[in-house]
């Protein structure tokens, strides 16, 4: 709804204000009068009336008032289009990646600047400034408000998906002990991705990303114990996994697969599905996972992908072979705590406890996340 109003008013701030006002009005009205048949339409009409009131009172906005009264504001089909336009505009490559994330969370997912700041551990003033600058750049450089077409679309869609994946990982990995008032970033990233997949149903990578997020979130309940300590995949109580969410994730992946256009997100989702469908760690199909990582290396090679492949390999190949592959990544991943943690685990398997401790200490030096640090510290104490 915000998107349609942004389009009609050409003004983010006014659009947000009237949306907020219409929601407050709903909270005041609906308990007494009952929820209307078409709540979306009620909210839209209320928001428009409010916008007209505000614009009437402010002489500076006279031209915008004319625009609003003339504009054809049918909801639903144009609203869906508007939301997609808004997402693509917020994720335009002319904006910095941090600005893309902040703007998408603010304008599409309705996060406050305080919520964005707490999710990404930056100062609120920094977030506010990023958003103001991004909005200014959209206006000054004339970044168009539309869904890209033709040869532009796939590159731009990749950009949108990487913003959504970044948001998801931030929410997913940072989740430690639940903090009462914190917005759930990972859930909102999933919601945004499902919004995009609803609006662009012929794009298998969007569905693939949605499946990946859904499958990862399905394991949430098992990821932390009652003391708030992190529990890794091998040790998780699989009865705590949300098996209906897993089934949904697998169904999404099959739907994407039917379009016969594989991609990195679909492959990562397939790997997650293999983990999620295994009744236990020991029963995991590691050979198939390595095959999938081979495909991922061909499609989207990176040192981290190769590291993950080596971990999967270590489950059926000799640990020396896996360690050899991991060591090849030493230069690229020297600053990555999971590289050192992986080396530590493999060195343990090879009966090298002293070298393992050294590697684990290096991992600890490089690790920020409190739950991961606690896990490494526990292993060092054992």
């Amino acid at each position: 709804m915000t998107a349609a109003l942004v389009r009609a008013l050409g003004d983010f701030d006014l659009a947000e204000e009237v949306v907020q006002d219409s929601l407050v009005a709903a909270l005041e009205n609906w308990p007494e009068e009952g929820i209307p048949d078409k709540p979306g339409a009620w909210l839209m009409t209320t928001a428009r009336r409010r916008a007209i009131d505000i614009l009437r009172r402010d002489r500076r906005y006279r031209e915008k008032l004319a625009l609003l009264e003339r504009s054809d504001m049918r909801s639903d089909p144009t609203e869906a289009d508007d939301r997609l336009r808004l997402i693509f505009t917020c994720c335009h490559p002319a904006l910095s990646p941090e600005a893309q994330v902040a703007l998408t969370l603010r304008a599409v997912a309705g996060f406050t600047t305080a919520e964005i700041a707490s999710a990404f551990l930056v100062a609120e003033a920094t977030v506010a400034q990023r958003i103001v600058r991004a909005k200014r750049k959209i206006v000054d450089a004339h970044i168009p408000y539309r869904v890209p077409e033709g040869s532009d679309l796939s590159g731009r869609l990749d950009g949108v998906l990487s913003v959504l994946y970044l948001m998801f990982n931030e929410g997913y990995l940072s989740r430690g002990a639940q903090v009462a008032m914190r917005r759930d970033l990972a859930d909102d990233a999933l919601w945004l991705t499902s919004l995009v997949s609803t609006l662009m149903p012929d794009q298998p990578e969007v569905i693939g990303l949605q499946a990946l997020m859904k499958l990862n979130l399905a394991r949430s309940a098992a990821r932390f114990d009652s003391a708030g300590e992190m529990v890794l995949l091998p040790d998780q109580d699989r009865s705590l996994w949300d098996h209906s969410a897993i089934a949904d994730g697998v169904a999404l992946l099959e739907w994407a697969g039917a379009m016969r256009a594989s991609g990195p997100y679909q492959i990562q989702a397939a790997i997650a599905a293999l983990h999620s469908e295994a009744p236990s760690w020991a029963d995991t199909d590691w050979h198939q996972i390595v095959v999938l990582y081979d495909a991922l290396v061909r499609m989207a090679d990176s040192p981290v992908v190769r590291l993950n492949r080596a971990v999967a390999l270590s489950h059926f190949a000799a640990p020396e072979i896996a360690l050899g592959e991991v060591n090849d990544l030493a230069i690229a991943l020297s600053g990555y705590h999971l590289f050192h943690a992986t080396r530590a685990d493999l060195l343990d398997q090879l009966g090298e406890p002293v070298l393992a401790r050294e590697a684990r200490r290096r991992a600890l030096d490089l690790c920020q996340n409190p739950a991961e640090r606690s896990l490494l510290e526990r292993k060092l104490r054992d």
Binding site: A94, D140, A141, H142, I143, P144, P148, D152
Partner: protein, 118 residues
């Protein structure tokens, strides 16, 4: 909406350019010429210039309240502006589409200030 497309490169690019054998240089100019021709036909080019090398530049600054003239370009020698085009297009995406097909290096795209309502 007017934008300036600044054709930029590193000082290594500039050196490589100056050392190109005649035929390759001619071919590079031809590619650039074709780019200009294509976009002029579409009515998008408002103006343009190829600049002579940075060694021909002179910069005027104000120092201690007085204008000071120095030899050389304003920006550090590592980055060089080779030329520019002023284009008139619908929006940033159209300017970026033009910049993506420029055959001779990086392009900075900046909107021109519109003073028409001053």
């Amino acid at each position: 909406m007017k934008y300036v497309l600044l054709f930029v490169g590193s000082s290594e690019d500039q050196d490589a350019w100056e050392k190109l054998p005649k035929e390759q240089l001619a071919a590079a100019y031809e590619r650039a010429g074709k780019w200009f021709e294509e976009h002029s036909k579409a009515g998008k080019i408002v103006g343009s210039a190829e600049l002579q090398g940075p060694s021909t530049a002179t910069t005027v600054r104000i120092k201690n309240g007085k204008p000071m003239v120095t030899d050389g370009p304003y920006i550090e020698a590592k980055e060089i502006v080779g030329g520019f085009a002023i284009v008139e297009v619908k929006d940033l995406d159209e300017a970026l589409a033009m910049a993506k097909t420029w055959p001779a290096g990086a392009v900075e795209v900046r909107p021109v200030v519109d003073h028409s309502n001053d």
